[in-house]
């Protein structure tokens, strides 16, 4: 019995050790190039790259930009948890990085650590997500405007001049910024122009749930001619349900399909004419960030704190192969 206890103890120690080891390597422990050489040190705190295709593209973009060749000494750490992210931030402040780039998991709880950063002379740039903290605590934030993404898509839909608008609306996880922005635009315009919302349900970003929802709409014999899915996965699930029921979709067909995020496979569907529209959620913030850092290094002041990125919407009839390559994530 005692033997087993000891064994269990040993096993848990090993596990703990492994966890610490992995944290250590994630945190990036190189202290060599602190000051002296010309490299600009950057600490980047991001969400887990596995979170979504968007995040993977975002992480890859940052990794490709902040390299030694481009004059940066960058350290990366990833977590979906706010407390862990704050720990990473404290570590970077101790390391005296020049810039701290932050995509916060949660909007709250950042005040004190950002004050520490300010006192230590670390300049903070937010990307992708904003936080609830005083504007003086960070230099700039580079974000997407989710409301505008929705508005662009709805504007496009309006310009299609369909004879009737019977819409199946597939929502993301309720309360997320992307869901609120993309739903808001549709709900508003639908009320103004008396568009008929046949069904409005959350599929929680999941293709399979989207498929079930659209299936149930079809089974109920409800007529619809637009699928407004708030991400590509859900649009894909919806299209699978349409295929099952032999309902045609895409350019010049019975049902208009709208998706978001511009995954590469989604843009390929668009190019093939199976979908009609895909709205971009731009994950490529690094060029904007580099711009800001350049300006700050030269001692210039920034014209505005919040920088909203350009975001495109692609129409199946006008999209080119070059677009698929360039904007597909």
């Amino acid at each position: 019995m005692k033997m087993k206890k000891v064994l269990a103890m040993a096993a848990s120690m090993v596990l703990c050790g492994a966890v610490f080891a992995s944290c250590g390597s994630e945190g990036g422990s190189s202290n060599e190039s602190k000051k002296g050489d010309k490299l600009i040190t950057v600490g980047i705190i991001n969400n887990d790259p596995n979170e979504s295709g968007y995040r993977t593209a975002n992480v890859n973009d940052l990794k490709a930009t902040f390299t030694k060749e481009n004059g940066y000494d960058a350290k990366f750490s990833y977590s979906l948890k706010n407390e862990e992210q704050i720990n990473f931030a404290q570590k970077y402040i101790q390391d005296e990085v020049d810039y701290l780039l932050l995509s916060a998991a949660d909007t709250a709880g950042w005040d004190s650590v950002l004050k520490d950063a300010k006192d230590a002379g670390v300049r903070v740039i937010l990307f992708d997500r904003t936080i609830d903290a005083d504007e003086s605590l960070y230099e700039a934030s580079v974000v997407s405007d989710m409301d505008k993404e929705g508005e662009q898509a709805v504007e496009w839909l309006k310009n299609q001049n369909l004879t009737s608008y019977d819409i199946v609306h597939l929502q993301g996880v309720m309360g997320s910024a992307a869901q609120e922005g993309r739903s808001g635009a549709l709900t508003k315009t639908a009320a103004e122009l008396k568009w008929n919302i046949v069904a409005e349900q959350t599929a929680e970003w999941s293709s399979e749930k989207a498929q079930q929802i659209v299936q149930s709409v079809i089974d109920a014999d409800k007529k619809f001619n637009v699928i407004y899915a708030e991400n590509d996965d859900m649009a894909k699930g919806a299209v699978a349900a349409l295929d099952k029921a032999n309902i045609s979709h895409g350019v010049g067909k019975d049902v208009v399909v709208i998706g978001f995020d511009c995954n590469k496979w989604a843009l390929e569907e668009l190019k093939a004419g199976n979908w009609n529209y895909d709205g971009q959620c731009n994950p490529f913030q690094s060029s904007y960030i580099v711009d800001i850092i350049d300006k700050l290094e030269k001692g210039e002041t920034l014209p505005q704190k919040t920088i909203i990125m350009d975001e495109k919407g692609f129409d199946a009839t006008t999209i080119t192969d070059a677009d698929v390559e360039q904007y597909g994530i």
Binding site: L15, E200, Q201, Q212, D219, A220, G237, I247
Partner: protein, 364 residues
Amino acid sequence: MNPTSKSNTAGSIITAMFRKQIFIPLAALLILAVFNFIMDPSFFKVTFGHNSNGDPILSGNIISIIDYGSELAILAIGMTLVTAASRGQDISVGAAIAIGGSVVLRVLCGTNSRPDEIQAPIIVAFLVCCLVTMACGAFNGILVSVFKIQPMVATLILFTAGRSIAAWINNNELPEVRDKTFSYFGGLIPGIPIPTPFFIAIACFILIFLVLKFTTLGLYVQSVGINEQTSRLNGLNPAFIKFITYVILGLCVAVAGLIKVSRLRTINYSVVAKDIEMDAILAVALGGNALGGGKFNISASILGAYVIQFLTTTLYKFQVQSDALPAYKAVVVIALVVLSAPIVREKIASLFKRIRPERAELKT
């Protein structure tokens, strides 16, 4: 035979029915069915048509239920055994499905994430997937049986790490299988209008019933769950039996994973089979199985799984508002779970006895 004794037997049948474990999921199914029938009889309509490939297909809510409920039903088999033997639940099945599905795609796609042709036979991909998910099960099983860690804590490790491992298996790419035959497992086999997942589920049920009938697995699992010490004294090896239930669950996960990735011939690591572990545990609970281990009834769990899918489809059909969806589900689930609690069932049964006290006396 006078009329009193006749109704007496009827009364005792009702009492006995309430005591039967399978009564609760059956009753829940019946209530949902009756509710749907009253609200809108067209719920049960099944239509025959053709899909965009020209293959025949049946569609309707009932077909959706037996289609989408199948993975959950398959998982419920393994989860019931795990619950009975180890007196705890495996919360890593969703993550394990992501791993298994990822392995299937990896083997089929090879190094290129979107090949035009599959790189290995599907059966090979499935067998590799079985090995990997059974290894995951074995990992959990060893933690639980040898190191005596609480099942929920032991499986928490894989629950946390699983989806990252799944993404890592495919280098974080989103592979897509273009070969049409791969979609047979989660879709339709041309010519057969009923979704394949249902047939796969039936095959799994038959298999497990044969195993339980012709081996002593069921008896051993039950006795280990009821009293480990006594089982040991009777010559059983409780650690091995617990271990084997986790491996069986791993096998169930492999089948469910194959169906999941086959549906759309691709995978999304963060949302595939999300929260399915909770539904699987719920299916076991709805089946009237004690979550504290011991006696179990697999058919009740399977029925419980289809009840959950019936509920989901019903909520979709009635277009419950998105923000309120979880609340509706929670209310129904609480009602069902409370009803299925042994203490409540005993109360109801004794209530029936009290209503007909004179007949109960007659009997004695």
